[in-house]
């Protein structure tokens, strides 16, 4: 199983006034394969930086990130990314968006078409294949993003606040859709969020970061029953866990 390991990772940025800002400081973290790990933390703690490092868009100043016992040295299709603001290609139709990863992998057109149609059905996008992103609602756009990222069956799915710009109902629907897909294909999911409820509902493991410079504050194994169903949200355990997480984070905000 491909494991992801952060080994003593540090990353700093230089801000507009020329100051060096340490975003992540000596971070050790091991991500369990085929599980959902949610990364929570106060805003500005470097959550997005972690995703960018894992995706291979940026590189650590110090330390190493291993994926499958190798350094991450750039973006790759085995690590799919779902962005906060949907990075759908506005000039491509829904079908072309979903099929782009397959096209890049030189999968022939007939098979591509078959996979795309299957994805359209699964993600509730039937009949929207020829629409352009500008014609879709926020929730549908995010579904297209998810369908596109998953079309090539990546081993890892990196999600950077994927549902944060959606309304409450749509967000809960999509969280449940995500779980459905997850139980089928079992990718390793690393999801960054500031939404405690979301993390509690989705995660097998919750990693809470400290405020900047980000390092690990606490790691919580979520013992809620699997597969998660919507009703879990109303259970006492869920409330208790949520409260515990909130208190842990609150210490950081103060």
């Amino acid at each position: 199983m491909p494991k992801i390991i952060f080994d003593n990772v540090s990353k700093a940025f230089v801000n507009n006034s020329g100051q060096q800002i340490q975003v992540i400081d000596k971070l050790f973290l091991e991500i369990e394969p085929e599980k959902i790990t949610c990364i929570l933390g106060p805003s500005g703690c470097g959550k997005t930086t972690l995703i960018n490092l894992l995706a291979g868009y940026i590189f650590p100043d110090d330390g190493y990130i291993f994926y499958d016992s190798q350094y991450i040295n750039g973006p790759g299709p085995e690590r799919a990314v779902v962005f906060q603001d949907q990075a759908l290609f506005l000039w491509k139709t829904v079908k072309e968006n979903i099929g782009f990863g397959l096209k890049c992998q030189k999968i022939n057109e007939a098979l591509r078409e078959k996979i795309i149609n299957e994805r359209l059905d699964k993600f509730g996008l039937h009949g929207f294949g020829d629409s352009y992103p500008c014609q879709l609602s926020g929730g549908m756009k995010q579904r297209v993003g998810l369908a596109g990222a998953l079309a090539t069956r990546p081993k890892v799915l990196l999600m950077d606040e994927p549902f944060s710009s959606l309304d409450e109902q749509t967000r809960e629907m999509l969280q449940e859709d995500l779980l459905k897909i997850y139980y089928e294909a079992r990718p390793t999911i690393i999801l960054v969020t500031h939404n405690i409820e979301e993390a509690t509902f989705l995660a097998d493991t919750i990693v809470i970061l400290t405020k900047r410079p980000g390092t690990i504050k606490s790691i919580i194994k979520v013992a809620l029953p699997n597969p998660r169903i919507s009703e879990v949200r109303n259970s006492t355990e869920f409330f208790q866990l949520r409260r515990h997480i909130w208190e842990t984070i609150r210490e950081e905000i103060k």
């Binding site: 750039g74 491509k92 990863g101 890049c104 500008c134 090539t152």
Partner: protein, 261 residues
């Protein structure tokens, strides 16, 4: 009682009527001004005379040739400018090396107004079609190149990142991401470029050509046929307007993904 909801059809007839109001008053005023005796038609003919001149020009048929010649000058010059401008702009935006090598040269040439090239283009190409092609493509090149360049450099980093994470290589990044993402900007450049082309073709034909609409109004000035000069100007205006409209229709066809609010 007045109806609260206005009838959309009546509204559009009304707003079209309002649009025409000032032009109609203008033409009537112009006609009234020319009605008295002693007006010099060689300075300004009446709208009725200009209208007759347009009818006659089409009746004689030479105006058709002039229009076609000017359109030929524009299209060939504009085509060359589009190819060169898009390729140069995209290359400048895509490759730091190309930009560093060639952009200083284009930045040096750009501030020279295209009309300042007229004397040398006549020396180089003589009188005829070629200076027109040269001046049109020179004038249209810069807005096309600049807009293509800015289109490419302002493609959002997230698009490229998303594509890379989906396994895109250099070819896909260029053809599937950078080019289509910068199309709206490139198209803005093409529209501006076509406008400048039309401007440049008339200038080129005024001084360096023996055919076309620019040549036709210049010739009629020498013959003191002011009605035909004004008629020619109006035809030039109409052609330019129609070209611009055609580009707008083409834009809507080529860029269906842009939300037209």
């Amino acid at each position: 009682m007045k109806p609260i909801i206005t009838n959309p059809i009546r509204k559009s007839v009304l707003s079209n009527g309002v649009k025409l109001l000032i032009p109609v008053i203008f033409i009537l005023f112009w006609q009234a001004l020319m009605a008295g005796d002693g007006q010099n038609v060689q300075i300004l003919p009446s709208p009725a005379k200009v209208f007759l001149a347009i009818i006659n020009l089409f009746g004689e048929g030479t105006i058709i040739t002039d229009i076609l010649v000017s359109l030929k000058h524009v299209f060939i010059g504009f085509f060359i400018a589009s190819m060169a401008g898009i390729i140069a702009g995209v290359a400048f935006g895509y490759s730091k090396i190309v930009k560093t090598l060639f952009m200083p040269l284009t930045e040096f040439i750009r501030p020279i107004p295209p009309i300042a090239w007229i004397p040398i283009s006549i020396l180089w190409f003589g009188i005829g079609d070629n200076p027109a092609y040269f001046l049109v493509s020179l004038g249209a090149f810069f807005p096309i190149m600049t807009n293509a360049y800015f289109g490419v450099i302002s493609v959002e980093e997230n698009y490229k990142r998303a594509a890379l994470s989906l396994g895109a290589g250099r070819k896909e990044i260029l053809l599937d991401i950078i080019l289509p993402a910068s199309w709206p900007s490139i198209f803005t450049g093409l529209k501006t470029g076509l406008g400048i082309s039309w401007f440049m073709v008339i200038v080129a034909e005024l001084v360096g050509s023996q055919s076309g609409l620019g040549y036709m109004i210049q010739l009629n000035r020498l013959l003191l046929h002011t009605d035909k000069v004004v008629a020619g100007m109006i035809i030039i205006g109409i052609c330019g307007y129609l070209m611009n409209k055609a580009m707008e229709i083409l834009e809507r066809k080529l860029l269906p993904w842009r939300l037209i609010a």
